[in-house]
C-alpha cells in the first residue's frame, strides 16, 4: 500500500519526463501473463541475479521460492490496482483546495498529507480492500515466484488447484466458496465506499 500510494501521489501531482512510462510500468502487471512477470522477477531478483545474491548474503534468505517471494508476488499483483485507484481518488479532489493550502504556506508534501490523502481516504481504503482480494486470489505469479512449498508459500488459491488435481472435491468446493465469499464481501464494500465518495 505504501509503495502504491507513493507512486499514485507522484503520478497525480507531478509532471516529469517519462511520467507516462512510469504509469505504464506500474499498470502492466494487470495485463501481463503471470509467467512473463514471474520470469522477469526471477531474472532480476533470483539467486543468480546481483540483487538476489546480495539480499541472500545480507539476510540469509532467498527472495524467490520463500515466503518473501509469495509476499512479493502479492505486492506486484496488487500494485496496479492500488496505483490506479488511489491516483483516481487524488485526482478527483478539487484542485483549488490544494492551491489554497499552498497559498496558506503548505509545502507540496504537507498539502499531500493534510489535504489530499485525508480527502482520498475512502479511495485508499477501497484500494487496500481490492489489493487484499487480489493478493488472496493470486495463483500464477505466486506459483512462479513463491513455488508451492507446504507451510510457506502454499496459498489458498494453490491449495484449490492441488485439491482439484487430487480429486478432493469437498476441499476444493469449501475453499472456493470461502474465497468467493471474501471477494464478494470486499467488492461490495468497495462499491459502497465508492458510492459514498460520489455522493
Amino acid at each position: 500500500m505504501l509503495i502504491g500510494v507513493a507512486v499514485a501521489a507522484l503520478l497525480a501531482n507531478t509532471r516529469f519526463p517519462g511520467r507516462d512510462l512510469v504509469d505504464v510500468l506500474f499498470t502492466a502487471p494487470l495485463v501481463m501473463p503471470p509467467t512473463v512477470l514471474g520470469y522477469y522477477i526471477i531474472v532480476l531478483l533470483g539467486r543468480r541475479s546481483a540483487f538476489g545474491h546480495a539480499f541472500e548474503s545480507l539476510t540469509g534468505v532467498s527472495i524467490v521460492f520463500t515466503k518473501t517471494g509469495a509476499v512479493l508476488a502479492a505486492t506486484v499483483g496488487a500494485l496496479p490496482l492500488v496505483v490506479k485507484s488511489v491516483r483516481t481518488a487524488i485526482e478527483e479532489i478539487d484542485r483549488t483546495l490544494v492551491l489554497a493550502a499552498r497559498t496558506l504556506g503548505a509545502s507540496p508534501l504537507r498539502a499531500l498529507f493534510t489535504i489530499q490523502l485525508p480527502l482520498a481516504s475512502r479511495g485508499i481504503v477501497a484500494a487496500s480492500m481490492l489489493a487484499f482480494a487480489r493478493s488472496l486470489g493470486d495463483f500464477g505469479l505466486t506459483w512462479v515466484i513463491g513455488g508451492n512449498i507446504e507451510g510457506k508459500t502454499h496459498t489458498a488459491a494453490i491449495e484449490i488447484y492441488d485439491a482439484i488435481q487430487a480429486r478432493r472435491d469437498g476441499d476444493a468446493f469449501t475453499l472456493s466458496a470461502v474465497l468467493t465469499a471474501i471477494a464478494v464481501i470486499l467488492l461490495y464494500g468497495v462499491n459502497k465506499l465508492s458510492a459514498r465518495e460520489e455522493s
Binding site: D94, T96, L97, L99, A100, T103, L104, G105, I115, L119
Partner: protein
C-alpha cells in the same frame, strides 16, 4: 507596493497587465473572461507567466530568472469557491495558515479572528454545515489570520444575496483598512468595487484599458 507586470499567452488572447498596488484596496474590474483571475493566479504563483516581473517592494516574486514558490510569497488568496477544507473544522481551517507560535497560540489566534468575523460559534463545525455568508466569513478569517503580505480576493462575494453582502462588505472594509497591505479585489460588481476599493484598473481582453481613483471612476 505590489508591482505587477505580467505577459502571458492564453488561448483567447494575450494577457499583458501592468499595475501598481500600494497598501489599500485596488480593484481589478472587468467582464468575465477578461483575464482578472489569471492575473491573481500569476501574482499568487499558481500560474506562471511567460514574462514580466512581480515584486512586493524589493522582494521579487517572479522575473525572467524564474519565480519563488507559492508558499514563500505569503499571499492570502480568497478563491471564488472559497476553498475551505471540508474535512477540517472552521478553527482548523484558520489555524492551517498561521505559521508562527505554539499549537495553543495558533488556536487562540484562530478563535480571536473567528470572533472578529462573528463566526466563533462555528469554530468546531465543518464547512459542509455553513450558510454562504458563514462560509465567506470563515474564508476571510483564514485569509486575515495568516498575517499576509498581500491579499487577493477573487470575486469572493459573488454568491451572496444582497442583504448578506452589504453587511459583510462593511465589515471587510474595516478589516482590510486595518491590515494595511496591498489588496487586489477582482470583481465585475460596481457596488463591491465602490464599497471596498480606493483605486480601480479596468481590464478587458487581457489589457488594462484605463485606471483611476474609485471616486473618479466611470463604471
Amino acid at each position: 507596493m505590489l508591482s505587477v507586470n505580467i505577459k502571458m499567452t492564453m488561448r483567447e488572447f494575450d494577457l499583458d497587465v501592468a499595475l501598481e498596488a500600494p497598501a489599500g484596496v485596488t480593484v481589478l474590474f472587468g467582464p468575465s473572461g477578461a483575464g482578472k483571475s489569471r492575473t491573481l493566479a500569476c501574482i499568487a504563483g499558481i500560474a506562471r507567466p511567460n514574462g514580466g516581473r512581480i515584486a512586493l517592494d524589493d522582494d521579487v516574486w517572479f522575473d525572467d530568472r524564474g519565480g519563488i514558490r507559492i508558499e514563500s510569497r505569503r499571499v492570502a488568496y480568497v478563491f471564488q469557491s472559497l476553498a475551505l477544507f471540508p474535512h477540517m473544522t472552521a478553527a482548523a481551517n484558520v489555524v492551517y495558515g498561521i505559521r508562527d507560535g505554539s499549537p495553543d497560540e495558533k488556536r487562540g489566534r484562530a478563535y480571536a479572528m473567528l470572533e472578529r468575523m462573528r463566526v466563533v460559534h462555528l469554530a468546531e463545525r465543518k464547512p459542509g454545515t455553513f450558510s454562504g455568508g458563514e462560509a465567506q466569513r470563515v474564508a476571510l478569517a483564514r485569509a486575515f489570520a495568516m498575517s499576509p503580505r498581500a491579499i487577493l480576493l477573487d470575486e469572493p462575494f459573488s454568491a451572496l444575496d444582497a442583504a448578506v453582502k452589504k453587511s459583510l462588505l462593511d465589515e471587510v472594509s474595516s478589516h482590510l483598512a486595518a491590515a494595511k497591505v496591498p489588496t487586489i479585489l477582482v470583481t465585475h460588481d460596481t457596488a463591491e468595487a465602490r464599497a471596498l476599493g480606493e483605486r480601480v484598473f479596468f481590464i478587458d481582453k487581457g489589457k488594462i484599458a484605463r485606471s483611476s481613483s474609485i471616486d473618479e471612476a466611470a463604471f
